[in-house]
Symmetry: C2
Subunit: 152 residues, 2 copies
């Protein structure tokens, strides 16, 4: 029952979750700000996945915040397993979305500029970068919790 930093119910985990929520929201914001996103499949996919990731991260942020406040971390193996699998599936989906969006943006930037104005393209790029950061934090959460699991 030793505390792995970053596992559920620690303040490090709270920071990770907060980061996920912020980066996912930023990614969605920058993507949805330009209303052209629905003409590209990859961008629609990114928006869909972020629509899944934000509630998930936000819920776990609140749970972690509460655990830190009352100093009573959740240590039920079954709940932890669900969180690990959820994080892991989400991180794969976010990675897929981020890669798709990034490659499409790259293609659009290297075309002759007829598809998207430079300003819009830069916004898409920021959105993809935010999605990559969100993927990284999500995977870190999953790994830290997986590390904790055998000791329960």
């Amino acid at each position: 029952m030793d505390d792995v930093p970053g596992s559920m119910g620690t303040s490090a985990s709270f920071s990770l979750r907060l980061g996920q929520t912020i980066f996912s929201s930023a990614s969605l914001f920058f993507m949805a700000l330009g209303v052209q996103f629905y003409s590209y499949t990859a961008f629609c996919y990114l928006v869909t996945i972020m629509g899944l990731a934000i509630p998930w991260s936000f819920t776990l942020t609140i749970v972690d915040g509460y655990s830190v406040l009352v100093k009573w971390p959740i240590r039920q193996p079954r709940i932890l397993l669900i969180v690990i699998i959820g994080d892991w599936v989400l991180s794969i989906l976010i990675l897929a979305a981020a890669c798709s969006a990034a490659s499409v943006v790259d293609l659009l930037l290297h075309s002759d500029g007829s598809f998207c104005p430079l300003k819009v393209c830069r916004r898409y790029q920021v959105s993809a970068a935010m999605a990559f950061l969100s993927w990284f934090l999500s995977m870190a959460s999953s790994l830290f919790n997986l590390w904790l699991l055998p000791s329960l």
Copy 2:
């Protein structure tokens, strides 16, 4: 020391590795057959990653085949850990490459056809699909070995 099916040195693992080698090679083959691939970043990335994945899978196929033949599976935790981490990193890279290639192909297909003829585009699509299959098998190998690790 019980045998987890799919972990290193079993015949299931040999099949997984063989599948990875075949799918990675097929992906590289279908991508490199059309010589236009180097005009798109995502396709170049796929070719690079497949160039990494094929030797890795092929080496492990041979190791597994030898282990099955002499009935003496490798069970050193350190070697297993290296294989797990290698598989895991490769599976992330392959997923990224497959998603990028798939989204770019999708974009090219939905443009007016001036970028790639339908026949070439279909070939790229097959290549991306093969990369996805290769990712799936690579991740399965990594998970099976991870499952075995704590029992060593």
